[in-house]
């Protein structure tokens, strides 16, 4: 018996040795292989990032581009908490209001790209801290297997119609920059016409009454729409096009006829970037004419740059006419937290009562 117990304890020590061996194995044995690392925080997703990583590394064989793909709010939080020990060089992708915030908090460093004259004044930082890359219009999306195009809602106010009761599913607006922008824009719209935000909140309360559920992420949202738990949502155009064409989800969109918020997506160099020179080259590379066209054709991004020849853009961009909702982005940035807090405590799930 004693012998057995010894044997087992020996086994235990062997296992313990194994585990500690695993633990002490040299960490992150360089996947860069002695190359110069360039670290990018981005919202643009694995596929787009992988494509541009490969392209840039081909032209710069000494550089190893490494990226982290995450939500825009996450990038800001991360950059903020790494302020004392910056890890990344480039921040590529986020609505401009987040870049504005980061600029205010001194998290960015200025850089004036060679094409700085080719974007509108509101699509860039006045002090070169960030520049717009892509335009992202918000749209009404619907399940195209269940609804014919003529049956889908045409404009924002159509969403309040009783026939959409329990047919609308939305992405949880607190966690989503896109949804926050849409909700705040609709409040701001009422402010611009009536002088008060009350009508805007009333509008959102009626929308809440028609809303079946607020879901945690975009993948879940598109699953629920495709499976017809709901039929209608609001989201941004490139994502809907991407899901439709790349992944064959039965989704289509309508651009609201009275006008829609168009979000500017941007790029910036981070303060304290360890590889600032390479970062500038990467910045130029991904915002070059060729790259912009590649992003438009393959990844459904509408360019901010105005010097891209129109005939080279994909058909879906050329054929779309977008009426931009005039918005004061400064007010939106300042008020969005306050408005969303009020929405969360007074309106979420209370519209039906």
């Amino acid at each position: 018996m004693m012998q057995r117990s010894c044997l087992c304890l020996n086994r235990f020590w062997a296992a313990a040795l194994l585990v500690s061996g695993l633990a002490l194995q040299p960490s992150c044995s360089g996947s860069g292989g002695g190359k110069l690392p360039l670290i990018v925080y981005s919202t643009h997703g694995k596929e787009l990032l992988g494509e541009f990583e490969a392209g840039f590394e081909l032209a710069n064989p000494a550089v190893d581009v490494r990226w982290l793909d995450m939500g825009s709010q996450d990038v800001l939080d991360r950059v903020r908490s790494e302020r004392e020990n910056p890890q990344a060089d480039v921040w590529w992708g986020a609505p401009s209001i987040l870049f504005q915030q980061a600029e205010k908090e001194r998290l960015l460093q200025p850089y004036r790209p060679t094409w700085s004259g080719e974007v509108a004044a509101e699509a860039r930082s006045a002090n070169d801290f960030w520049y717009g890359t892509y335009e992202t219009p918000e749209v009404i999306a619907y399940n195209s297997a269940a609804l014919k195009p003529e049956e889908a809602p045409r404009d924002w106010d159509d969403l309040l119609d009783a026939k959409w009761q329990n047919k609308i599913i939305l992405r949880d607006p607190l966690a989503s920059g896109t949804m926050r922008t849409i909700f705040c824009a609709l409040i701001l719209r009422s402010h611009q016409t009536t002088g008060t935000v009350e009508a805007g909140f009333q509008w959102l309360r009626k929308l809440d009454a028609n809303t079946k559920d607020y879901v945690a992420n975009l993948t879940l949202l598109s699953q629920k729409l495709a499976r017809q738990e709901g039929l209608v949502t609001v989201w941004n155009m490139p994502d809907i096009v991407l899901q439709h064409t790349q992944y064959q989800y039965p989704l289509d969109y309508v651009i609201p006829s009275s006008g829609t918020p168009v979000v500017t997506d941007g790029i910036a160099l981070l303060n304290g970037a360890a590889h600032a020179d390479t970062a500038r080259r990467f910045y130029e590379y991904v915002t070059s004419k060729e790259s912009t066209l590649l992003a438009a054709n393959k990844f459904y991004r509408i360019p901010c740059r105005r010097d891209i020849p129109r005939q080279e853009l994909p058909v879906w961009i050329r054929q779309t006419t977008i009426r931009t909702m005039p918005l004061d982005w400064k007010v939106l940035e300042e008020k969005s937290n306050e408005w969303m807090k009020r929405w969360d405590s007074q309106i979420r799930n209370r519209g039906k009562s």
């Binding site: 997703g45 694995k46 004392e84």
Partner: protein, 561 residues
């Protein structure tokens, strides 16, 4: 009982453990507590007044409390009988199913929870089948709200009861039960008055972990809550809205509720100490010989485990479904291996897996050593302030993972030695440290329960027979507590492998773990690939279990036989 033997070791270890706890656990949390009382640079109760003045905040507190209470009851009702079934009776396939029954707690993050939707949700397999079966126009149920949360909680948290009680049963002194029976006690009386009290430490430990996990639970209410307010969601929403003070207050309230329950349970535990006074004898596993009973016991075990594995199977199914095609059908209409192909063609496919394995191994090794020392001090040496030690050790569990991440990130974001702060943000080490802190309670509780169940007289006997301290620890103490320590460490290891909520706050490019890779797949609508990656994770966890069963489970047997 003779007074505990004191030696310089004890004092040194005690000091070390206390310093570690104060520095790594109390300090970051004290920061949050202080912040909750600060408004515009001055001391204020304003946030607390706002909290208790708001109907939605009070509602959230109440919901969190009652949902957690019920989660404990339901998890116990599943976990305890299962442990008895698998550890007291023998029937075909017992060992395999006993191991499989621990899997649910290891459902991969995010996608695992989402697989519930595809199974039990409004448009899920079950709902659609029933709908078609009965020819209904509308789905029968929507799997939303408190009921759905409780379902998911009971499903994932019964494992605490299962594992703790299983370990307890292994240590159970069956001679006592036999004595009671021979003195004329009925079997149910012997169970209630002898068996159950011996299991009290395991039950208390499991209840505590379940309650705290459920208070801090995030994914279940977020995905299945259907708008129900609970504290963990309120914290998240406040933080997203830039209302950090309110998030701190909500965190403090949540943590205090958990700590209150902890203190209540500790009082109960203090009043009921049941120890085995002899080395005892294990109950022989009852071989069920009657063919019908054998069939029934085996059948019940298998059906339960099969039910518990349904979400894993669903995940497996999704990993082979062609993205975007499964819309109105009960089961996916088209199958493909492209989800796996997409993963395997990615040159960095293995990187997150290696990262997670390494960090989990690091953190768990530290947990194991720490837990042995800490539990020994608390239970055996009866050191002064052990209630404080015990509470500090459990504190990480009382806090949601996000909060742990945040508090670590805001404490260790600069080198300032006089403040006790070092720069870890952005380095490899912060995340393994977080795993270590977060899983400290499971391992310590498991070891503590083992220590509490056997009598110190055994150790003293070894010493009085001339064994050195080292010898008595190695040959008496360690073998007795190893089953518990290993069960706890195993749980910590696999939980660390798939950890998500803390990881997302503090991972860096050097240590991107598995859960973050799954999230990245999800972000790109690669639902199938996310599921495929989760299947890899499940296999990884399964392999860990098999290996540990094979190499480690005998240790306990060997020690008491």
């Amino acid at each position: 009982m003779s007074s505990p033997v004191r030696r310089p070791f004890t004092t040194a270890f005690h000091a070390l453990i206390l310093v570690l706890l104060l520095w790594l656990v109390l300090y970051p949390n004290a920061y949050i507590l202080v912040q909750s009382f600060i408004g515009a640079g001055a001391l204020t109760f304003a946030h607390y007044i706002e909290f208790f003045g708001s109907a939605s905040e009070r509602e959230a507190l109440w919901n969190s409390l009652w949902i957690s209470g019920w989660s404990v009851v339901l998890s116990g009702l599943i976990g305890v009988p299962l442990a008895f079934l698998f550890y007291r009776f023998d029937f075909p396939g017992r060992k395999v199913f006993a191991a499989l029954a621990s899997l649910p707690v290891l459902l991969p993050p995010l996608v695992g929870v989402i697989s519930f939707l595809f199974l039990y949700g409004e448009s899920g397999i079950l709902s659609r089948s029933l709908q078609r079966w009965f020819g209904l126009r509308e789905p029968l149920f929507s799997f939303r709200g408190a009921g759905a949360i409780l379902f998911v909680h009971a499903y994932t948290m019964y494992v605490y009861f299962y594992m703790f009680v299983s370990a307890g049963l292994k240590r159970l002194d069956y001679t006592l039960v036999e004595a009671a029976r021979s003195l004329g006690a009925s079997s149910s009386r012997a169970f209630l008055r002898v068996t159950l009290p011996q299991l009290a430490p395991s039950l208390v430990g499991a209840s505590l972990l379940t309650f705290m996990t459920s208070m801090a639970s995030f994914s279940a209410p977020y995905i299945f809550g259907g708008g129900i307010r609970v504290l963990s969601l309120q914290i998240y929403n406040s933080k997203l809205n830039g209302d950090l003070e309110m998030a701190m207050v909500e965190t403090v309230i949540l943590a205090s509720s958990s700590i209150l329950v902890l203190l209540l349970l500790q009082r109960y535990e203090g009043t009921s100490k049941y120890r085995s006074t002899t080395k005892g004898a294990r109950q022989p596993v009852t071989l069920v010989s009657h063919p019908l009973k054998r069939l029934l016991a085996g059948g019940a075990g298998i059906v339960t485990v099969a039910f518990l594995l349904l979400p894993h199977l669903t995940l497996f199914l999704i990993s082979f479904a062609k993205d975007g095609t499964w819309t109105m059908e009960i089961l996916p209409p088209r199958y493909t291996i492209e989800n796996y192909a997409r993963l395997l063609s990615d040159s960095s496919f293995l990187e997150p897996i290696l990262n997670s394995l390494q960090m989990a191994a690091l953190a768990t090794s530290a947990n194991f050593v720490f837990a042995l020392v800490a539990a020994y001090l608390i239970v055996r040496q009866q050191v002064r302030g052990r209630a404080l030690l015990g509470s500090l050790i459990l504190l990480p569990w009382a806090l949601p993972g996000t909060v742990l991440g945040l508090s670590l990130a805001s404490t260790f974001n600069q080198n300032s030695l006089w403040q006790g702060r070092i720069l870890l943000v952005g380095t490899y080490w912060l995340l393994p440290l977080a795993y270590f802190i977060r899983h400290m309670p499971v391992v310590v509780r498991a070891v503590q329960a083992s220590f509490e169940q056997f009598d110190p007289a055994l150790e003293e006997a070894a010493r009085s027979l001339g064994g050195t301290w080292i010898y008595s620890v190695r040959r008496v103490v360690l073998p007795m507590v190893l089953p518990g320590a290993l069960a706890g460490s195993l749980l910590a290891f696999v939980t660390a492998l798939g950890e998500f909520v803390t990881s997302i706050v503090i991972y860096t490019i050097h240590n991107r773990p598995i859960s973050i890779e799954i999230l990245a797949q999800l972000r790109q609508f690669n639902f199938g690939s996310a599921a495929a990656y989760s299947v890899f994770l499940i296999f990884l966890i399964g392999a860990t279990f098999v290996v540990s069963q094979k190499y480690l489970s005998d240790i306990g047997d060997g020690a008491v036989s």
